[in-house]
């Protein structure tokens, strides 16, 4: 500043001839811009539209599809991935990723089952212990990420293997049979109970999923903690400068994610009846939850998207799986179309991002 060859004689001399109008927002009138703006404000809109369209298409293609029982079945099929998706959502909102979610869920279910059957701990206490241990697994991820500053992808890539193999080792690959659980520890199967309004069976697990999504939607949108999660994901440095305790938020997010996974583990027992350490969720749960999150319009780069979108994303996958089965296509088409949707979702995310530039 001091090196200026022509020192200013007055503070505002340099402004001479500049526009004197006050800065203002200009409303873009073009329809595309309006849509872009609306989508920017409503991140769950795209997956909702895709969901409605896919339901309509399958309803036309298969007479068995648009029925209350089929819809209820789809909901119960996405219950577990939806709850794990809640965990994945909060992690991805912080611009992180959790590859260990499925492993935590399966290990938690095995812990609940084995604590009850091998160690004779009463089922309700075993459930509480399982939930606590799941939370601890998440907290371990959070500790490594927030305190030791290790990248989330690598930390959870490691803990995924650690939790999954611990699960196999601890359980000795034994499955606890459904009828044994029903007889000795029905509390483990709680979420497999159902209400039957008008003969349509709706699992408790489905209500749990909806309640969790609703609560988390409120928390993320209307509480200081929720806004801090977004802030950390949007720009961790800026959030830190603004006084957000980013490390603490990260630790809490991963621990909470572990807790959600443990809940999913409990739900797994109810839904599958038995406790099986080889459940596919342990290996595929991370991919399935990331798929729901991405199709749901949550940005993998953090700070953008809503948990309701994740719920729609999970539903879209459920609708595709059931719809294509009823139409009778090769199951590979499900994966093909889900792959297309993932790329479509990321493209839409990038396009919407342009609204802010």
């Amino acid at each position: 500043m001091t090196d200026n060859t022509k020192p200013a004689t007055g503070f505002e001399e340099g402004l001479k001839g500049a526009s004197e109008t006050v800065a203002e927002f200009r409303e873009e009138k073009s329809l595309v811009k309006k849509i872009q703006h609306w989508l920017h404000q409503t991140p769950s809109a795209v997956p909702m539209i895709v969901l409605v369209i896919s339901v309509l298409v399958f309803a036309l293609l298969s007479e068995n599809f648009f029925r209350a029982t089929t819809m209820s079945t789809i909901l119960q099929q996405i219950a577990i991935v939806g709850i794990i998706g809640c965990a994945q959502t909060i992690v991805i909102l912080t611009a992180g990723i959790d590859l260990s979610v499925g492993a935590i869920a399966v290990f938690s279910s095995v812990l609940m089952g084995q604590l009850t059957f091998r160690f004779g701990i009463p089922a309700p206490l075993a459930i509480v212990m399982g939930l606590a241990l799941g939370t601890a697994m998440g907290a371990l991820n959070g500790y490594l990420i927030s305190r030791l500053k290790l990248p989330p992808f690598i930390v959870t890539l490691g803990t995924w293997q650690i939790f999954l193999s611990s699960n196999y080792i601890f359980s000795k690959n034994e499955t606890i049979r459904s009828q044994d659980i029903a007889e000795a520890a029905p509390a483990l199967q709680f979420w497999g109970n159902a209400i039957q309004p008008g003969g349509v069976k709706v699992l408790y697990a489905v209500f749990l999923l909806i309640v969790l999504v609703a609560v988390m939607a409120y928390v993320l949108r209307h509480t200081a903690w929720g806004r801090h999660v977004y802030a950390v994901g949007d720009d961790a440095e800026a959030a830190k400068l603004a006084g957000v305790q980013t490390n603490k938020i990260l630790l809490q997010v991963y621990a909470l994610a572990g807790f959600f996974c443990a809940i999913a583990g409990w739900v797994m027992i109810g839904r599958f009846g038995s406790v099986s350490p080889t459940a596919s969720t342990g290996v595929l749960g991370n991919i399935q939850s990331i798929t729901a999150v991405v199709i749901g319009g949550i940005s993998l780069f953090g700070g953008r998207g809503s948990i309701v979108g994740m719920f729609f994303g999970a539903l879209i996958v459920g609708v595709f799986e059931m719809g294509l089965r009823l139409v009778g296509t090769d199951p590979q088409w499900t994966f093909f179309l889900i792959g297309v949707l993932i790329i479509f979702a990321v493209a839409v995310d990038q396009w919407i991002r342009k609204v802010s530039s």
């Binding site: 068995n64 119960q76 049979r177 080889t278 009778g328 199951p331």
Partner: protein
């Protein structure tokens, strides 16, 4: 345990001969066991059987496994490790029966005896021998049992088929097609499932052979046709999952479930009436016979011969049910529990 003792007794002679001939030289015979995974109880049991027999015969056994079912790369790497290690023989349960063939050939070219356990290679003569359950016969037994149990109603059956994987591995096809043949459904092309035109077949779904997959597959088929009254399952975990789905719609009492494998939890489910009948196979026997064959080959180069009239060595299959029917030989669950694995 019983099986093991039977084997010990029946083979005492040959072991004595071994010891007497001084074949147990200073360098122990090396053998490898390569399974699909080391988490599936079936393979856990197979490994136990191989280890017990190896200890008995003084064979040095190394075990390898893929991380997940279908992990061909890990099996290729394992074969390479065995070749480097100077193994005399390899027992393998192939994840990808066609893709592994070149690696198996390389090992055989080096003079290693390769025996396929449980799952035949594609083509079957890519291995020196195959010790396996006759999976087609296993399927046929439950098909015949189901037809006899349903009686005249069999003509109106609504059949759900819960298979293993989209890739249709040989064990999957053989069990499924055996079942349909036993039940009296025209197979179409016997080398694949899913091309039947019989209206009694509601559909096929894949399960990955676990409870989770069985449940989801059954739900999908029930959405297709709620009147299903006969369920074929590739194995008992899938059957347990299917049962949960049937229970959820209140059809657990009116639907017949049949399965294949004979694991202890599965036999317990037959006893509890959840599964009507299951065809039991014997992984311990496959593995211990395999180790014996390697020991014999190391001694004088003899290769195992297949069972008369078949292109593999049949390790046997037995129908386990508490509701025997005329014309289908079976044992009850008490006997089945004695012989079960896992």
């Amino acid at each position: 345990m019983t099986l093991k003792t039977i084997f010990r007794a029946s083979l005492a002679g040959s072991i004595l001969a071994f010891a007497a001939s001084g074949a147990l030289a200073q360098d122990a015979v090396k053998a490898c066991l390569i399974t699909k995974t080391d988490t599936n109880p079936f393979f856990v049991k197979m490994k136990e059987g191989a280890e017990a027999k190896a200890a008995e015969l003084g064979v040095e056994l190394k075990s390898y496994a893929g991380q997940v079912d279908g992990d061909n790369e890990a099996q290729v790497a394992a074969i390479e490790a065995c070749m480097t290690d100077g193994a005399k023989g390899i027992l393998i349960t192939a994840s990808d029966t066609a893709a592994i063939v070149d690696s198996v050939k390389a090992a055989r070219d080096q003079g290693i005896l390769v025996i396929a356990l449980d799952t035949p290679l594609d083509p079957i003569d890519a291995a020196d021998a195959t010790f396996a359950t006759d999976n087609f016969a296993a399927g046929e037994l439950i098909g015949k049992w189901a037809a006899a149990t349903m009686g005249a109603e069999a003509a109106n059956a609504k059949i759900a088929l819960l298979d293993l994987a989209i890739s249709q591995p040989s064990v999957d096809v053989l069990r499924d097609q055996g079942f349909l043949q036993g039940f009296g459904v025209d197979l179409g092309d016997a080398s694949k499932w899913g091309d039947e035109t019989d209206p009694r077949v509601v559909g096929h779904e894949v399960t990955a052979g676990n409870e989770e997959g069985g449940l989801k597959a059954m739900e999908a088929l029930l959405a297709k046709d709620p009147d299903i009254n006969l369920v074929y399952t590739i194995n008992e975990p899938a059957a347990a999952g299917a049962y949960e789905a049937l229970k959820a719609v209140g059809k657990e009492g009116s639907t017949l479930i049949v399965s294949v494998d004979g694991g202890c939890p599965g036999v317990a489910n037959v006893k509890d009436g959840i599964i009507g009948a299951t065809s039991q196979q014997y992984p311990l026997q496959m593995a211990s016979l395999g180790i014996e064959a390697i020991a014999a080959y190391a001694k004088d180069g003899t290769k195992p011969a297949p069972t008369e009239g078949k292109d593999f060595f049949d390790t046997g299959v037995t129908l386990v049910t508490d509701k025997p029917v005329d014309g289908v030989e079976s044992v009850d669950t008490a006997k089945g529990t004695e012989l079960c694995w896992g």
